[in-house]
Amino acid sequence: MGVVEIDQLVDARGLSCPMPIVKTAQAVKALTSGSVVELLATDPGSIKDVAAWCKSTGNELVEQTSDGAVYRFVIRRK
């Protein structure tokens, strides 16, 4: 698997909905096009929320993994 370089980490572990998305949107907004954000979240709603947010905003969901407790997302800004 190719290694994606992360420009910014958003640690939203322990935060409930909608904070993982709010923190992600804040981080993405502050970056330039093509920048990559890694999001860590424990809110189970974030799986569908991150996908829906990326679809709606046009940002790319590059990776999505989980170790059962923490969900990890890699998002590239459009």
Binding site: G14, L15, S16, C17, P18, M19, I21, V22, T24, A25, Q26, K29, W53, S56, T57
Partner: protein, 137 residues
């Protein structure tokens, strides 16, 4: 996605304000504008001297609901006021006080928390609402 989400907040309990703040932040993250119109007890909760206080829960919460909400708060859930502040930083969120409710509660603009952008009547609210949905909480 360009039509705004329009929330009329009537209830001033923390659970309903939290639900409204979540809807607002979600919309702001998607780039959807949000107009919030504060009436009655919701407006009272936005008073500068009251916003950080405990505003209780809706009657249907009961003792179990109280315990569940307290557990979330203890776990570090962001307050509704802070959630709204972050939503305003992120997107276009306009919070207006209903002028009739201002009279009812004997409030002046300077009595309100800075989250509130201004005072307007229902006609201005509808004008800004455009073709967007109006949700009453």
């Amino acid at each position: 996605m360009d039509e705004p989400l329009n929330l009329v907040l009537f209830s001033g309990t923390d659970d309903k304000l939290q639900a409204a703040a979540v809807l607002t932040a979600g919309a702001a993250a998607l780039g959807k504008p949000v107009n919030i119109f504060l009436q009655y007890w919701a407006l009272d909760a936005f008073r500068a001297d009251k916003i950080d206080r405990d505003h209780g829960l809706a009657p249907e919460a009961g003792a179990e609901g109280r315990a569940a909400v307290d557990a979330l708060t203890k776990a570090g859930q962001t307050s509704w006021a802070e959630t709204l502040r972050q939503a305003k930083d992120l997107g276009s969120v306009d919070i207006e006080a209903c002028s009739l409710s201002m009279d009812l509660l004997h409030l002046e603009a300077e009595d309100l928390d800075p989250l509130v952008d201004g005072v307007e009547g229902v006609t201005a609210f509808y004008l800004n609402a455009g073709e967007g949905q109006v949700v009453f909480i």
